[in-house]
Amino acid sequence: MRWFWIDRFDEFVRGRHAVAVKNVSLAEEHMHDHFPGAALMPNSLVVEGMAQTAGLLVADAIDYNRRVVLAKVAAAEFHFDAVPGDTLRFRAEILDLKPGGSFTRVSSTVEDRLQGEAELFFAHLEPGEGVPKLFEPEELLRWLDQMHIYDVGRDQAGNPLPRPDW
Protein backbone atom coordinates (compact mmCIF):
# COMPACT_ATOMS: atom_id res chain seq x y z
CA MET A 1 0.00 0.00 0.00
CA ARG A 2 1.36 3.46 -0.89
CA TRP A 3 0.89 6.48 1.34
CA PHE A 4 -1.47 8.36 -0.96
CA TRP A 5 -4.43 9.89 0.87
CA ILE A 6 -5.69 12.11 -1.94
CA ASP A 7 -6.66 10.93 -5.42
CA ARG A 8 -6.39 14.15 -7.43
CA PHE A 9 -6.62 17.92 -7.28
CA ASP A 10 -9.67 19.69 -8.68
CA GLU A 11 -8.44 23.21 -7.96
CA PHE A 12 -4.97 24.51 -7.25
CA VAL A 13 -4.22 28.23 -7.03
CA ARG A 14 -0.55 28.81 -6.28
CA GLY A 15 0.12 30.24 -2.83
CA ARG A 16 -3.56 30.54 -2.04
CA HIS A 17 -5.87 27.53 -1.95
CA ALA A 18 -6.39 24.02 -3.31
CA VAL A 19 -9.16 21.45 -3.47
CA ALA A 20 -8.38 17.74 -3.59
CA VAL A 21 -10.67 14.73 -3.53
CA LYS A 22 -10.32 11.37 -1.84
CA ASN A 23 -12.61 8.51 -2.75
CA VAL A 24 -13.09 6.23 0.22
CA SER A 25 -13.18 2.58 -0.84
CA LEU A 26 -13.80 -0.72 0.87
CA ALA A 27 -10.88 -2.08 -1.17
CA GLU A 28 -8.44 -0.16 1.06
CA GLU A 29 -6.72 -2.65 3.28
CA HIS A 30 -7.03 -0.76 6.54
CA MET A 31 -10.83 -0.80 6.19
CA HIS A 32 -10.98 -4.55 6.59
CA ASP A 33 -10.25 -4.48 10.28
CA HIS A 34 -11.49 -0.99 11.02
CA PHE A 35 -14.07 -2.26 11.73
CA PRO A 36 -15.29 -5.66 10.50
CA GLY A 37 -18.82 -5.16 9.18
CA ALA A 38 -18.75 -1.41 9.89
CA ALA A 39 -15.83 0.00 7.91
CA LEU A 40 -14.90 3.63 8.39
CA MET A 41 -11.92 5.79 7.51
CA PRO A 42 -9.94 6.73 10.63
CA ASN A 43 -9.88 10.49 11.11
CA SER A 44 -6.10 10.29 11.58
CA LEU A 45 -5.96 9.34 7.88
CA VAL A 46 -8.39 12.12 7.02
CA VAL A 47 -5.84 14.45 8.63
CA GLU A 48 -3.17 12.86 6.45
CA GLY A 49 -5.26 13.62 3.34
CA MET A 50 -5.73 17.18 4.56
CA ALA A 51 -1.98 17.44 5.16
CA GLN A 52 -1.14 16.15 1.68
CA THR A 53 -3.52 18.71 0.16
CA ALA A 54 -2.17 21.62 2.19
CA GLY A 55 1.44 20.35 2.15
CA LEU A 56 1.63 20.23 -1.65
CA LEU A 57 0.05 23.68 -1.82
CA VAL A 58 2.74 25.00 0.53
CA ALA A 59 5.60 23.11 -1.14
CA ASP A 60 4.58 24.51 -4.54
CA ALA A 61 4.43 28.02 -3.06
CA ILE A 62 8.08 27.75 -1.99
CA ASP A 63 9.18 26.05 -5.25
CA TYR A 64 9.82 22.73 -3.50
CA ASN A 65 13.05 24.24 -2.17
CA ARG A 66 12.61 22.99 1.38
CA ARG A 67 11.24 19.88 3.00
CA VAL A 68 7.68 20.59 4.03
CA VAL A 69 6.88 18.55 7.10
CA LEU A 70 3.63 18.42 9.04
CA ALA A 71 4.88 19.72 12.37
CA LYS A 72 1.69 20.17 14.31
CA VAL A 73 -2.03 19.62 14.12
CA ALA A 74 -2.91 22.88 15.85
CA ALA A 75 -6.64 22.08 15.94
CA ALA A 76 -8.89 19.39 14.50
CA GLU A 77 -12.58 18.67 14.81
CA PHE A 78 -14.68 16.00 13.13
CA HIS A 79 -18.43 15.87 12.80
CA PHE A 80 -19.05 12.39 11.37
CA ASP A 81 -17.11 9.39 10.05
CA ALA A 82 -16.26 8.93 6.40
CA VAL A 83 -17.32 5.50 5.12
CA PRO A 84 -16.77 3.49 1.92
CA GLY A 85 -18.55 5.19 -0.98
CA ASP A 86 -17.97 8.69 0.33
CA THR A 87 -15.98 11.24 -1.64
CA LEU A 88 -14.07 13.51 0.70
CA ARG A 89 -13.34 16.97 -0.65
CA PHE A 90 -10.43 18.69 1.09
CA ARG A 91 -10.19 22.45 0.75
CA ALA A 92 -6.92 23.91 1.98
CA GLU A 93 -5.96 27.54 2.27
CA ILE A 94 -2.70 29.13 3.31
CA LEU A 95 -3.20 31.48 6.24
CA ASP A 96 0.42 32.46 6.74
CA LEU A 97 3.58 31.57 4.85
CA LYS A 98 7.11 32.36 6.02
CA PRO A 99 10.49 30.89 5.07
CA GLY A 100 10.58 28.65 8.15
CA GLY A 101 6.98 27.49 8.30
CA SER A 102 3.37 27.91 7.28
CA PHE A 103 -0.08 27.87 8.80
CA THR A 104 -2.97 26.36 6.84
CA ARG A 105 -6.65 25.69 7.37
CA VAL A 106 -8.29 22.67 5.76
CA SER A 107 -11.89 21.54 5.66
CA SER A 108 -13.23 18.14 4.65
CA THR A 109 -16.72 17.82 3.18
CA VAL A 110 -18.86 14.96 1.88
CA GLU A 111 -21.28 16.46 -0.64
CA ASP A 112 -22.52 19.53 1.21
CA ARG A 113 -21.87 18.22 4.72
CA LEU A 114 -18.88 19.44 6.70
CA GLN A 115 -17.04 16.30 7.82
CA GLY A 116 -14.02 17.90 9.53
CA GLU A 117 -11.88 20.97 9.97
CA ALA A 118 -8.25 21.34 10.94
CA GLU A 119 -5.48 23.88 11.32
CA LEU A 120 -2.20 22.41 10.20
CA PHE A 121 1.21 23.85 10.84
CA PHE A 122 4.11 22.90 8.56
CA ALA A 123 7.82 23.35 9.20
CA HIS A 124 9.97 24.03 6.14
CA LEU A 125 13.28 22.33 6.80
CA GLU A 126 16.60 22.70 5.05
CA PRO A 127 18.81 19.70 4.33
CA GLY A 128 20.71 18.92 7.52
CA GLU A 129 17.85 19.82 9.84
CA GLY A 130 17.16 16.22 10.76
CA VAL A 131 14.77 15.15 8.01
CA PRO A 132 16.06 12.83 5.28
CA LYS A 133 15.47 13.71 1.64
CA LEU A 134 11.78 13.08 1.07
CA PHE A 135 11.60 12.58 -2.70
CA GLU A 136 13.71 12.07 -5.76
CA PRO A 137 12.71 14.81 -8.25
CA GLU A 138 11.32 12.40 -10.86
CA GLU A 139 9.37 10.51 -8.22
CA LEU A 140 7.85 13.76 -6.94
CA LEU A 141 7.01 14.92 -10.45
CA ARG A 142 5.27 11.61 -11.15
CA TRP A 143 3.12 12.16 -8.07
CA LEU A 144 2.33 15.77 -9.04
CA ASP A 145 1.31 14.57 -12.52
CA GLN A 146 -0.83 11.85 -11.00
CA MET A 147 -2.48 14.52 -8.83
CA HIS A 148 -3.24 16.60 -11.97
CA ILE A 149 -1.62 19.67 -10.44
CA TYR A 150 -0.40 20.91 -13.83
CA ASP A 151 -3.78 20.21 -15.45
CA VAL A 152 -5.83 22.29 -13.01
CA GLY A 153 -3.15 24.51 -11.42
CA ARG A 154 -3.20 28.26 -11.92
CA ASP A 155 -1.15 31.13 -10.58
CA GLN A 156 -2.93 33.99 -8.86
CA ALA A 157 -3.37 35.84 -12.17
CA GLY A 158 -5.15 32.79 -13.62
CA ASN A 159 -2.31 31.56 -15.85
CA PRO A 160 -1.64 27.80 -16.06
CA LEU A 161 1.21 26.55 -13.87
CA PRO A 162 4.23 25.54 -15.94
CA ARG A 163 5.29 21.92 -15.39
CA PRO A 164 8.84 21.92 -14.00
CA ASP A 165 11.54 20.18 -16.05
CA TRP A 166 13.26 18.28 -13.22
Binding site: K72, A74, D96, G100, G101, F103, F121, A123
Partner: protein
Protein backbone atom coordinates in the same frame (compact mmCIF):
# COMPACT_ATOMS: atom_id res chain seq x y z
CA UNK B 1 2.02 51.12 23.01
CA UNK B 2 -0.21 48.59 24.82
CA UNK B 3 0.14 48.22 28.57
CA UNK B 4 2.06 45.35 30.13
CA UNK B 5 -1.26 43.70 31.12
CA UNK B 6 -2.62 43.98 27.59
CA UNK B 7 0.55 42.37 26.25
CA UNK B 8 0.33 39.62 28.84
CA UNK B 9 -3.28 38.84 27.87
CA UNK B 10 -2.35 38.48 24.20
CA UNK B 11 0.75 36.41 24.99
CA UNK B 12 -1.40 34.19 27.20
CA UNK B 13 -3.95 33.72 24.45
CA UNK B 14 -1.17 32.81 21.96
CA UNK B 15 0.28 30.26 24.40
CA UNK B 16 -3.13 28.74 25.16
CA UNK B 17 -3.71 28.22 21.43
CA UNK B 18 -0.20 27.02 20.62
CA UNK B 19 0.30 24.69 23.58
CA UNK B 20 -3.24 23.59 24.34
CA UNK B 21 -2.85 24.56 28.00
CA UNK B 22 -5.44 26.07 30.34
CA UNK B 23 -5.50 29.82 30.68
CA UNK B 24 -4.98 29.46 34.43
CA UNK B 25 -1.70 27.63 33.88
CA UNK B 26 -0.21 30.54 31.95
CA UNK B 27 1.09 32.64 34.83
CA UNK B 28 3.98 35.11 34.50
CA UNK B 29 6.30 32.80 36.46
CA UNK B 30 5.40 29.63 34.52
CA UNK B 31 8.33 28.21 32.55
CA UNK B 32 7.72 27.59 28.89
CA UNK B 33 9.17 24.09 28.77
CA UNK B 34 8.94 22.77 32.34
CA UNK B 35 5.48 24.06 33.25
CA UNK B 36 3.77 24.53 29.90
CA UNK B 37 5.36 21.62 28.03
CA UNK B 38 6.57 23.60 25.02
CA UNK B 39 8.69 21.60 22.57
CA UNK B 40 11.06 23.05 20.00
CA UNK B 41 8.45 22.99 17.21
CA UNK B 42 6.07 24.90 19.49
CA UNK B 43 8.47 27.84 19.54
CA UNK B 44 8.06 28.19 15.77
CA UNK B 45 4.28 28.10 16.24
CA UNK B 46 4.49 30.67 19.06
CA UNK B 47 6.60 32.96 16.85
CA UNK B 48 3.86 32.86 14.18
CA UNK B 49 1.17 33.70 16.70
CA UNK B 50 3.09 36.52 18.41
CA UNK B 51 3.99 38.08 15.07
CA UNK B 52 0.34 38.07 14.08
CA UNK B 53 -1.04 39.22 17.43
CA UNK B 54 1.36 42.16 17.74
CA UNK B 55 2.28 42.93 14.12
CA UNK B 56 5.99 42.40 14.85
CA UNK B 57 8.77 40.51 13.07
CA UNK B 58 10.67 37.92 15.07
CA UNK B 59 13.95 36.91 13.43
CA UNK B 60 14.89 33.27 13.72
CA UNK B 61 16.89 32.51 16.87
CA UNK B 62 15.89 35.66 18.70
CA UNK B 63 13.26 34.15 20.96
CA UNK B 64 14.95 30.78 21.35
CA UNK B 65 18.69 30.94 20.58
CA UNK B 66 19.12 27.35 19.41
CA UNK B 67 22.13 28.32 17.27
CA UNK B 68 24.03 29.66 20.31
CA UNK B 69 23.11 26.63 22.42
CA UNK B 70 24.34 24.18 19.80
CA UNK B 71 27.53 26.04 18.82
CA UNK B 72 30.96 24.59 19.64
CA UNK B 73 32.20 28.15 20.03
CA UNK B 74 29.74 28.97 22.79
CA UNK B 75 29.34 25.62 24.54
CA UNK B 76 32.06 23.67 26.34
CA UNK B 77 31.34 20.34 28.08
CA UNK B 78 27.60 20.85 27.88
CA UNK B 79 27.80 24.28 29.51
CA UNK B 80 27.47 27.69 27.93
CA UNK B 81 30.88 29.41 28.31
CA UNK B 82 31.64 33.06 28.97
CA UNK B 83 31.53 33.96 25.27
CA UNK B 84 28.21 32.13 24.98
CA UNK B 85 26.74 33.97 27.97
CA UNK B 86 27.83 37.26 26.40
CA UNK B 87 26.19 36.20 23.12
CA UNK B 88 22.95 35.32 24.95
CA UNK B 89 22.97 38.67 26.77
CA UNK B 90 23.41 40.54 23.51
CA UNK B 91 20.76 38.46 21.73
CA UNK B 92 18.20 38.37 24.53
CA UNK B 93 18.33 41.61 26.54
CA UNK B 94 14.77 40.86 27.72
CA UNK B 95 15.91 37.66 29.43
CA UNK B 96 17.23 37.73 33.00
CA UNK B 97 20.29 35.45 32.88
CA UNK B 98 21.10 35.61 36.61
CA UNK B 99 19.65 32.22 37.54
CA UNK B 100 21.01 30.55 34.44
CA UNK B 101 24.54 31.84 35.09
CA UNK B 102 24.69 29.87 38.34
CA UNK B 103 24.51 26.62 36.38
CA UNK B 104 24.73 27.41 32.67
CA UNK B 105 24.14 23.87 31.50
CA UNK B 106 22.58 23.81 28.01
CA UNK B 107 19.97 21.38 29.30
CA UNK B 108 18.87 23.94 31.87
CA UNK B 109 18.24 26.71 29.40
CA UNK B 110 14.77 25.75 28.14
CA UNK B 111 13.58 25.51 31.71
CA UNK B 112 14.62 29.06 32.46
CA UNK B 113 12.47 30.86 29.92
CA UNK B 114 9.23 32.06 31.52
CA UNK B 115 5.99 33.60 30.30
CA UNK B 116 7.16 36.91 31.77
CA UNK B 117 10.26 36.69 29.51
CA UNK B 118 7.90 36.39 26.53
CA UNK B 119 6.04 39.49 27.72
CA UNK B 120 9.30 41.42 28.16
CA UNK B 121 10.43 40.29 24.73
CA UNK B 122 7.27 41.59 23.08
CA UNK B 123 7.57 44.85 25.05
CA UNK B 124 11.12 45.29 23.75
CA UNK B 125 10.00 44.65 20.16
CA UNK B 126 7.09 47.07 20.41
CA UNK B 127 9.34 49.75 21.90
CA UNK B 128 11.96 49.35 19.17
Amino acid sequence: MPSRDEIFEKVRSALVDALGVDEDDVTPAATMVGDLGAESIDFLDIVFRLEKAFGIKIPRGELFPEDVLSSAEFVSNGKVNAAGLAALKARMPFFDLKNFEQNPSVQNFPNMLTVEDMVRYVQSKLAA
